[in-house]
Structures are given as structure tokens and as C-alpha cells.
Symmetry: C2
Subunit: 438 residues, 2 copies
């Protein structure tokens, strides 16, 4: 990729792209270049019909009988088995259920319980990053307060070696940072944590369906993640939970609802956890939303035939890096001096998104990043804005989903960005009013 | 209602029923008399189109913008405000979110925290009923173990006065029992609990949309319940949580996810709970399933014009009691000596279901109740079976939803029951094999 890449070059890349037809698995709205699949994935073309079938046939006609006949009861596991193939997990190790925050509560509680049960009373620290997704920190705060642990936040990955002391019970990290797109080396970090006797909890919200994940190969301990981003499961789609088999049957998680019971329909008064990861289920799942998630998972599995012998996600990862490389190269070539690249340039440290900050100090502190994102949205290029604080800049965030984005989309989005800047379009008042959610 | 009620009498009751047209709000499958709305409610006729709109338009076209433009962000509160009218709550006191089990965890934790914070170290008992719905007991077991409380189970409501000692921190009851249909007097029980300084947690799974509930008038403390039974929200529909305003802003609940934060989209690293019941939200909600729940709530609100001055649920309650009275009278008249009525005969103690046990001791201990339910299902009369144990009999359970059931349905279901018994149909082998879920 050179800095003088042209629209024709992008079209040539699209013609040579082995994944180009996967775009047909989605319903992309007219006039939109969607660079926000890291916030809410695009609707698979199969979803409306599948959801309509679940509503009108399975519920409307089957009614209560569909728990058996439509196998609603198996959905968390069946979807978990599909997802397992994307995150380096084995069959029956993953459940699709509840929300990311709730699943984090379950696994962090379970990890803490293991440490408490070990009798090592000096090991009462949970380490995470200050830049982790806030809900992860909120859940950790709650559990630390309740269970007598200390939450220690590091400012960057460089501080990790020094932070990994024998007091650390759990290292809780998000694999790909939601703001910067920076990716941890899961294997190396897990090994470092294990070397001091700490357990690892990984949040895969920006990883599952976006980058290769090797949970078992990396010997991770616990993982959770989100169904509505790169998994294309729909707004607020149920999340997932994975537990290493060496832990799965060892602990009770506190949200011990009937669906995690060894025999939920025996209606016994005392809790007896199901074997394995099934004990991480709690209550009745939202079947319509869960069914929509299956259509999203199927879009990712459709890329499997292109992976050859390079393992899960290999083909998607290759294209993802090519897309983000192209976007970075074009922004740097066509908007010189305007942006700082926040996302790591090194492939091994990059997720499937590109984040930019304003280079000019006045613009970096002002409203420019927000307003540029709004001006792009008005042109149909949907990315998002994430506010900074004293330590971190405001950012423009662009997610690249190789399933449905083309190299021409990359060209066009940069072309729009150039026009927003050259025309000073972003200075218009309507792009400088804040909404509640972006 | 006399024991010589005829089919013509039932038809006359239907003609006189002011709620008879509400049945048109539902899509009832052909050839089915559905007496299982206490397990999974019938699909409202409006739901398929509404769900299709959420999927294809709000998600498919609106994408991430719909958090603002379709007000997804407000759904838990908007639905909570509709539900509030059915359960004697005020606006902004209810949130529709997560599952019943998870909401119970939140409120029971909060109730325990209040007692712990009060400094009364002797008050560490949670009282409930052995016959409570199992998931409630499992969640209570978990929290009691974790927080140093004792769970004390009483065998019947008669034991309640003796159980309410100064050691009781929380009285956790299900308002209408899932197996028997017996209903507690919420006001009297709450008053008795408060008299010894205990807080009350009410599970409204079989009450909301089924019977009048008077949370504020009864001065209850916490309540949770289910969206997929009498609220017709769809399979696994999100549940709800209500907290008395005197407690709502006082405690943190442990599942402190970003949606319960005072400013979730500021992405601050520390948790600051939202004011009021909004802090009982946790993670991102399953928007498709949540949208379907709104259609269910609307079917109940459609009955409001018939309530006159008798308060929420008055018209539905009147018809519910007439339906269950008719069913009891017809079963007793036409199947003499075969069944024992498990559900209380007294209106004040009856929910919206009728439960029967076999009278003959051999049949009571054997497979008869199960097989009769299966034989009825094969005839299109869908009720369900709940297994007994050493203390309690096997039961046949029939839920009566006044929104979509007629008196002729009652007649027909008893007619089928008579034939199942008279023909010994229930003794066929195919009705004597157990399924996983009934």
C-alpha cells in the first residue's frame, strides 16, 4: 500500500478480494458507508425472515411447546458452539446469554472465589487498565468493594510488568481497547499473569468476530464479550461467556438462576449447579433477540471456507488489516498534518478499527473531532466520537468490518473526510450540538 | 355459577362479557385452547409487525443512530411506565430489564445492604417459602452464603407469624404461587414484616397482568417480575424491577453496569449511580425482545377503559375470577370424585390459575396428572404439569388469561377433560413419556 493509492487501486483490490461476495449476506442501507460495526453491527439479510419465523411460528403457533419443539432450551449452547469456532474455544465451552456486564460479574466473582478458596489472603488485588471500557471497571469496583479486593488501574500496557506482583489475584483486560483499537498479546500477557499466580479475565467485546482469538491456545482463564458489535447480532444482542474447562465445574457463580441448575425442570428447592459452563446461565433468555444473534454468527462462519489452513478468522483478519492499512495510508496522504493516529500502526497490536485524534492542539482540545464525525454522518459515513479527558484526546473512531466493507468504501469515506475538512463543513453549528448517544 | 352450568350458559356469559373483543388483540392458533398463559403468554396480533419494524427499519436502516432516533435508550423506562399502571406503582418507579432472577439478585442484595448498613448485626435472616419458585430460592441461597445471612424456609403461610422474628432482615415471597395459584395478602403481609423491622421483596411473576397489585398502597419495599407470562411479552421477554422511592436512591446494587450510571455516555472510569430506579439497570438491553414486550403491555392497557373507578386491573380481575370459578364448578360437576382443588377457593387467595391434583391415592402418586395433561395437549388444550414431591402432590395447572379466553373455552376444555378421562385416553403409552420441558 503506497501513499499514492487511487480509487482504481481500491477497485482492483475489491475485484481480487476473495471475501467480496460476503457483503451480499447483509442489508446495507442506501447511501451509507458504515464504519461503526464496532458499536452495532449491520443487519444480516437473513435476520428479518428468521426473526419473523421465531415470532409468528415458534411463539405465535408453537407457544409453550417451542421450548421443546423449536429447541429454545438449547439456544445458549448451540450459539455458543458456533461462536467457539471464532474465539479459539472448544465445543460446549461457551454460552450465549445475558449482557456483557452481567457475564463479567459472574466470571470475576468466580475468579475471586478461586483465589479466596486458595487461602492466599495476601492476594487481593484486581489489576485493570484505566482505559478499559467503563462498565468493566464499574463491575470490578462493585465486586472489589463487596469482597475486600483492591482495584488497581494502570495507565498503559507498559506498566503491566511492574503491576504484576504476587498480590494480584486477577488481571482483567479488554483484548482490544474500545477507544484506541490497541490489541494486547493474549498469550504473552496471560503467561505473565500466570507467572505470578494471577488469573486472567478477558473482555472480547471488540475482538470476537474482529480479530483471531486463541482462548485455549493462550491458556486464558475466563472470557466474556458482546453479541451486537462484530457478531452482527442486533441491538443489545445477548452476550457470551467462556470459562476454561479447568475452572468451569469448579466454582459456583453467584447469579445462580434456574437455567444454570443441573436439572432446572425438576424444580428442586436447592441449587445444584450444572456441569461445565452451563452453570453460568441464570434466568430465561430473550429468545427473539437470541435467535437474531444466530443469524449474525452465521455471517462470520460463512467466511470459514476462505481461511484455508490458517485457523479461525484468518481470511477476515487479512482483509481487516488491509482495510485499516488502506484507511491509514489514505488519511495520511490526503489529510496531511490534520490527524494523529491513535491506533497502533503495528499489525500485531491493532484491532479492526482506526482511531484518529486532531493534531492541531486547539482542535484537539476543542469540538473538532466531534463535529467532523457529525459532518461525516450527515454525508452517510457513519463512524463515532469518543470524548477524551485530561489524559486522553478526543477521538474519531472508525470500525472496519471485512465482511461487508470494500476498499472502495475506504476510498469514499476518506474522500468525504477530505471534503468535510476542505469545505470547513464541520464548523457548521448543527454539527456542534451534542446528542445523548453517538 | 351453579353446578348445572351448560354450554349455552357459557355462550351467554361471553355475549355479556365487556372484554370479549380484546381477544381480537391476539393471534390465537387454530384448534388450541391455551391455558398456559401463566407460563408463556399468547402472541399479540401487533407484535410481528412491530418486531419487523424494529429489525428492518430501526436496526437495518437506522443502525447505531436508532439509539437516539428510535429512543432505544428510553425503552426500559418507557415500558416501565406502562407496566407501573398495572402494578400500583408510580411513573419512573419501574424498569423493564434483564431477567427475573437477575433482578431478584439486585433487589435482594440492596435489601441486605440496607440491613447491614443499619448496624443491626443480629438481623441476618431471609425468610421465604419452601414452595417459592426455585430460581428465587437459588438466588437467595447464593446471596445468603456470600453475605453471611441464613435462609429460613417456611412450609406454609400459616407459619409466617411465628417466622417473623426480630432476626428477620428480608421477607421474600412470590405473590401468587406458581404451583398452587395461592395468593398472599400483600398489604397484610408487608405490614406484618414491617412490624418486626423486616423489608419485603415481592416476586410478581404470576401477578403482573393477572391480578391487581398495589405496590405503593401496600407499602412494599422491592418487587421484581416476569415479562413473558401474563404480560404477553414473548419467549424470555425482559423482566422488571420496582423499588420503593424511599429506597431507590439509597443503595447501590451490585450489578453496576454502565446503563445504571448517572452519565453512561461520559465513559468515566468510576461508577456514579443514576438517581432512582434507573440505577437498577446494568448492561445493554436486548432491544428486539424488549420492543416485543411493549406490544404485550399494550394488550393489558387496552383493558383500562373497562375498569371504571375500580382501579387498575379491576375488569380483568372480575373476568379472571368468573373464568376460574366456572372452570372449578364444571370440573367438580362433570368429573366428580376425580380431582382435588389445590388452588384456594376463596377469591381473595386465588391468582388467575386453577391447579388440580388427583383424588385417588394411586393416581395421585402415579403418572396420571402428567398423562392427562399430555392427552389434553394432544387435543389442543394446553395446560401444564408440575411434579410434586414427598410433601406436595403432582398437579395439573391451568392458567386463565381473561384477555383472550372465553367462557366457551372453559366449557370446551372441561369437555375435553371429561373425554380424556371417560375414554381412558390418558393411559395411552405416548402420553406417559416425559419430555424435558412441559
Amino acid at each position: 500500500m503506497t501513499i499514492d493509492m487511487t480509487l482504481d487501486d481500491c477497485r482492483a483490490l475489491d475485484r481480487a478480494d476473495p471475501l467480496r461476495n460476503l457483503r451480499d449476506l447483509f442489508t446495507l442501507p442506501e447511501g451509507v458507508i458504515y464504519l461503526d460495526g464496532n458499536s452495532l453491527g449491520v443487519m444480516p439479510a437473513a435476520t428479518p425472515a428468521r426473526v419473523a419465523e421465531v415470532v409468528a411460528q415458534e411463539w405465535g403457533t408453537g407457544l409453550i411447546r417451542s421450548w421443546n419443539t423449536a429447541r429454545w432450551i438449547d439456544l445458549p449452547q448451540r450459539l455458543g458452539n458456533k461462536l467457539a469456532r471464532l474465539i479459539g474455544a472448544a465445543p460446549d465451552e461457551v454460552m450465549c446469554t445475558d449482557s456483557t456486564s452481567i457475564n463479567l460479574y459472574k466470571v470475576l466473582f468466580a475468579a475471586m472465589s478461586q483465589v479466596i478458596d486458595s487461602g492466599d489472603a495476601a492476594r487481593r488485588t484486581v489489576v485493570s487498565e484505566r482505559s478499559n471500557f467503563p462498565t468493566d471497571l464499574y463491575i470490578a469496583e462493585s465486586l472489589c468493594r463487596e469482597r475486600g479486593f483492591t482495584l488497581k488501574l494502570i495507565d498503559s500496557v507498559d506498566a503491566l510488568p511492574a503491576a504484576l506482583t504476587p498480590e494480584v489475584a486477577v488481571l482483567m483486560l479488554t483484548h482490544v481497547n474500545y477507544r484506541t483499537g490497541a490489541m494486547h498479546d493474549m498469550t504473552a500477557v496471560t503467561m505473565a499473569a500466570h507467572a505470578v499466580g494471577a488469573l486472567t479475565v478477558w473482555d472480547l467485546a471488540h475482538s470476537a468476530g474482529a480479530v483471531p482469538v486463541t482462548l485455549n491456545e493462550s491458556d486464558a482463564d475466563f472470557a466474556i464479550g458482546c453479541g451486537y458489535k462484530y457478531l452482527n447480532g442486533g441491538p443489545g444482542a445477548p452476550a457470551f461467556v467462556w470459562v476454561n474447562t479447568r475452572h468451569a465445574s469448579k466454582f459456583d457463580q453467584p447469579l445462580s438462576g434456574w437455567f444454570g441448575h443441573a436439572a432446572p425442570f425438576e424444580f428442586t428447592p436447592h441449587y445444584r449447579p450444572a456441569p461445565g459452563v452451563a452453570r453460568y446461565l441464570c434466568g430465561t433468555q430473550p429468545i427473539i433477540s437470541l435467535s437474531a444473534l444466530e443469524c449474525g454468527l452465521d455471517t462470520l462462519l460463512a467466511a470459514e471456507p476462505f481461511n484455508a489452513d490458517f485457523g479461525p478468522m484468518a481470511a477476515l483478519r487479512t482483509k481487516s488489516l488491509e482495510l485499516t492499512d488502506a484507511f491509514i495510508a489514505l488519511v495520511e496522504a490526503r489529510c496531511p498534518g490534520r490527524f494523529t493516529l491513535v491506533t497502533p500502526r503495528a499489525h500485531a497490536q491493532r484491532g479492526s478499527q482506526v482511531c484518529l485524534a486532531m493534531k492541531n492542539p486547539d482542535e484537539a482540545q476543542g469540538n473538532a473531532a466531534y463535529a467532523i464525525v457529525q459532518a461525516l454522518i450527515a454525508r452517510g459515513v457513519i463512524g463515532d466520537f469518543r470524548a477524551g479527558d485530561a489524559q486522553t484526546p478526543h477521538i474519531l473512531r472508525f470500525g472496519f468490518t471485512p465482511l461487508y466493507l470494500s476498499f472502495e468504501d475506504v476510498w469514499d469515506s476518506v474522500e468525504h473526510l477530505v471534503q468535510v475538512l476542505d469545505n470547513n463543513e464541520w464548523r457548521r453549528p448543527e454539527f456542534n450540538q451534542k446528542n445523548a448517544v453517538t
